[in-house]
Amino acid sequence: MKESKTITEKIKELEEKANWFSSDEFELDQAKEKYDEAIKLAKELQKDLTELKNEIEVLSEDFSK
């Protein structure tokens, strides 16, 4: 089963996708498809970031002894 990417990996992927638009590899014919992919990934990232919660555990160890 394919493991889901971390937020950091997704941000890196989005940066690569965004860089394509200002690179020499830019092709107008592919721009629409690439832009749609970037938008999809950006929305996914925003959802991930909003839903991300910290797990806070107060240890049961007694440090007074």
Partner: protein, 363 residues
């Protein structure tokens, strides 16, 4: 009477048992006098007020902060009669109190640790980026802890935060924090340890000027960040830590990315990509318009050339038009130009017939 007779050892034993039962752990506050260290192992001093003084004894290794005569201190310990019948207060903990004593003790210990190189910048380790596991040492009831958690949750998520609840002020605090540091170093898989305490008086923060705590922080295998008090407060724990943040909130800011800033960055990237497309489309449009314009110019030039050539030809043809010659007064003579023959003479307006009467050669 003889039945109640005790040996001196028995008597002192009973006395010490009674002391232990009645005065399990006494805290006395007073001024230090006659402070001395014997054989590098034992500490003797008196603690006094205006009327009385109590002889105190403790082991050197239990001395956590530099002490000098005249310092105001708090001592914790148990009373004891020695086998020589002398009263002594056996101290398990001592700490300066009052701003003057605290400052003096702080400066002495700071100098000592500084000379040992414990504050050297080259000892400082970087806190790893992209943290996922954080160890926190703080009192979970403290306002500073609440601030830390609030900022941490606002800024980032997905972190595993393990919290060691300890006292963060008072005589017991340094040992509890030391135990928590050891726990994280030995048992917990955390990438950084954050020691947190909100603001307070110099006395409140003095737990963080404890020599053993400072050494434990310096010896931690895991990088340590401190956020103790406010920006202006300086403790020895701050000085030996790998990173000193100004407040508990600042620790949270230091350890985490800001999800708000990341969302802004994401929006910027997407908007920028869209603008790049529009720019490239406009550039392409300009290139095509230039090409159309060039083609149009070539066609128009050619048409103009054709028009000019045609006009020239028309002008030439026009010049050769016989009607135009006749209009100038010339006439066309046609027919057999022999003597006596009738020929046709055409002028601009008339056609004439004439007979040839004479023929002469032109000279």
């Amino acid at each position: 009477m003889e039945n109640n007779c005790l040996t001196p050892t028995q008597f002192l034993g009973i006395l010490n048992d009674t002391f232990a039962l009645q005065f399990d752990s006494i805290v006395i506050e007073g001024e230090v006098a006659s402070f001395k260290i014997n054989q590098g192992k034992w500490v003797f001093f008196d603690i006094k007020d205006e009327e009385s003084n109590v002889s105190c004894f403790m082991a050197v290794w239990e001395l956590r902060m530099p002490i000098e005569d005249g310092m105001k201190v708090v001592v914790k310990g148990t009373p004891k009669m020695t086998k020589w019948g002398k009263f002594s207060f056996t101290v398990s903990n001592i700490k300066p109190v009052g701003e003057g004593s605290l400052k003096k003790s702080f400066e002495l210990l700071k100098k000592k640790l500084e000379e040992e190189g414990l504050f050297n910048p080259e000892r400082k380790r970087e806190i790893p980026k992209g943290l996922t596991k954080i160890g926190v040492i703080s009192s979970t009831q403290a306002a500073g802890y609440a601030d830390f958690i609030k900022i941490l949750n606002e800024r980032w998520g997905g972190l595993s935060v393990k919290v060691a609840h300890t006292q963060v002020q008072g005589l017991e605090a340094p040992d509890q924090i030391i135990r928590a540091l050891r726990y994280f170093n030995e048992h917990a898989e955390v990438e950084v340890i954050a020691i947190i305490r909100g603001g307070g008086s110099m006395d409140d923060l003095s737990a963080f000027n404890d020599e053993r705590l400072a050494r434990e922080i310096a010896a931690s295998k895991i990088p340590v960040i401190t956020g103790i008090g406010h920006e202006v407060d300086e403790t020895l724990a701050d000085l030996v830590a790998d990173v000193r943040a100004s407040t508990p909130s600042n620790v949270a800011e230091y350890l985490t990315l800001d999800r708000g800033a990341i969302m802004t960055h994401i929006n910027y990237m997407v908007n920028n990509a869209g603008e790049n497309i529009l720019r490239k489309v406009n550039m392409e449009k300009n290139v095509q318009n230039d090409k159309i314009s060039q083609i149009k110019n070539v066609v128009l030039t050619k048409i103009a050339n054709y028009e000019r050539e045609l006009s020239e030809k028309i002008r030439l043809l026009d010049a050769l038009n016989p009607e135009k010659v006749l209009k100038q007064g010339y006439a066309i003579l046609s027919g057999d130009l022999s003597l006596g023959n009738v020929v046709k003479i055409t002028t601009f307006k008339k056609e004439l017939k004439a007979e040839i009467k004479e023929i002469n050669e032109r000279k």
